[in-house]
């Protein structure tokens, strides 16, 4: 460091030589720096400890809890959705079974109705058939009588035309015999 020779003037000359020597080793400035450093550190410590760190810590904790809560809520919702899906599936399956049952019932009912209708129709058909047969028999009988009468008339005419004389009773008897065959 400077060779301190003649008091203020020499010191001034030394300073005029433009900081020859490291300012860091100028011990005259140490108390000033240390004092202000201690003040600064205490102020920073108080600021951090009283205000900044609790605040940031609270914000971070709040965020962490928000995220955790949100994730929990999301999981909850997911679980609910899955439950709802299961319920839906179950309802669907039940509905299918029910529908099948109802269909089967309806089918059975319809089948019964159908059977009844068929039976009724059958009886009606048989009645009609019997009636028809009866009518046919009557008509047939009527026709046979008609044929006899025609045959008798035709025979009588033929006999007359051929020049024979035959009484009615004989012709009728002969025709009757032929018709009976």
């Amino acid at each position: 460091m400077a060779t301190e020779t003649h008091g203020a003037v020499a010191e001034a000359a030394d300073h005029a030589a433009s900081g020859a020597g490291m300012p860091q080793l100028d011990f005259a400035h140490f108390p000033n720096q240390i004092f202000w450093l201690v003040v600064t550190l205490v102020v920073i410590y108080l600021i951090l400890n009283r205000v900044a760190l609790p605040r940031i810590g609270a914000v971070l904790a709040h965020r962490a809890s928000t995220i955790t809560n949100d994730i929990a809520a999301a999981n909850d919702l997911k679980r609910k959705a899955e439950e709802a899906e299961q319920a839906y599936d179950k309802a669907l399956a039940d509905a299918r079974v029910e529908a099948g049952r109802i269909a089967a019932e309806a089918k059975a009912e319809i089948q019964a109705d159908l059977n009844a209708a068929i039976a009724k129709a059958d009886t009606q058909i048989s009645v009609k058939t019997a009636e028809g047969e009866k009518a046919i028999a009557e008509i047939r009988a009527g026709a046979v009588d008609g044929i006899r009468a025609v045959a008798k008339d035709v025979a009588a005419e033929l006999v007359t035309t051929l020049g024979f004389k035959a009484d009615k009773g004989t012709i009728d008897g002969a025709v009757e015999d032929r018709v009976k065959g």
Partner: protein, 309 residues
């Protein structure tokens, strides 16, 4: 040596040919420097060689030949009393140290308090940075020191925030780098050293001395190791403080030296590139040194809390 072409440069410092001295930036000076007018010339030869003058308040100051002529001609010559070595820097004087430390505090307040004033769950940029700093230091203590180191978090955070802001603010042009002074870093380092030592003895009692007794080494070697460990323990605050101050001072001085070379026109472009590169490096160093200082604090703290190796 000064090339004559520089002219201006020679006016300030004859030595080295720099327009400014690389160490000038580290001078601690009062923010409010006193001036005094010279009223009379001193007796020639009374205070050694050179011209002297007497100021209004009766101080004897050195004068240049030009100033002496001015006084003789009846003009008023104002003398900077600080540069003349009369205005002293007392412990309470408001100096550039005070100014830049105040700016550091202000920057910390802006980042950590104004930045987080909204307490937003979804943070904006400033709040993100504040939370990043918080998480960075918190995780560092948790990882290095362990869970029981968490209660010293505000203390470590104070150190980190102060150093990192002082370092970065020191990189502004015309700024004063408080952490480049060994007086400042020594206080920080010795604070850590004493805290750790006292804490170690309070928490562990005599077991704290096991830190120096390496159990994993062969018995014959242990006394030798104990001495080495002891020496390294006491060198800690020195290396802790000199590392930080040295890094900051070296980087800034080198930038100034390169900047000084810009006075020579031929190498000025190279000098500009060099300054830019050094500045980039210094930005990195500023952060890394704050990080290193803090992590070493955590390591020392771990030694105090868990002294057995």
């Amino acid at each position: 040596m000064a090339t004559e072409a520089q002219g201006e440069a020679a006016a300030h410092g004859a030595e080295g040919g720099l327009a400014f001295h690389p160490m000038d930036q580290f001078i601690v000076k009062p923010l409010f420097q006193a001036y005094d007018n010279v009223v009379a010339l001193g007796e020639p030869g009374s205070g050694g060689e050179g011209l002297t003058g007497l100021t209004e308040s009766g101080h004897e100051v050195a004068l240049t030949a030009k100033q002496a002529l001015e006084v003789e001609a009846g003009g008023s010559v104002a003398i900077n009393l600080f540069e003349a070595g009369i205005q002293q820097v007392h412990w309470y004087t408001i100096t550039n140290v005070t100014l830049w430390m105040a700016i550091t505090v202000l920057a910390i307040v802006v980042l950590l308090i104004l930045g987080t004033s909204k307490r937003a769950t979804i943070p904006n940029r400033t709040q993100s940075v504040a939370e990043l700093a918080y998480g960075f230091v918190y995780k560092m203590i948790e990882d290095v020191t362990g869970k029981d180191g968490i209660k010293y978090f505000p203390y470590v955070m104070t150190l980190f925030m102060f150093i990192v802001f002082a370092n970065f603010l020191g990189l502004l042009p015309m700024a004063f780098t408080t952490t480049s002074h060994i007086a400042v870093t020594a206080v920080l380092a010795f604070a850590v050293f004493f805290t750790v030592t006292i804490l170690g003895f309070v928490k562990n009692g005599a077991h704290f001395l096991e830190l120096f007794w390496v159990k994993s080494a062969p018995l014959a070697l242990r006394p030798v190791l104990a001495i080495i460990e002891l020496i390294s323990y006491f060198v800690r605050p020195v290396s802790h403080s000199v590392r930080l101050a040295g890094n900051m001072m070296a980087g800034h001085a080198v930038i100034k030296v390169f900047a000084g070379f810009a006075a020579i026109a031929a190498i000025a472009p190279l000098s500009v590139v060099a300054v830019a590169a050094m500045y980039g490096l210094e930005v990195l160093v500023s952060f890394i040194q704050a990080y290193v200082f803090t992590i070493l604090t955590c390591v020392y703290l771990k030694d105090a809390l868990h002294p057995s190796h």
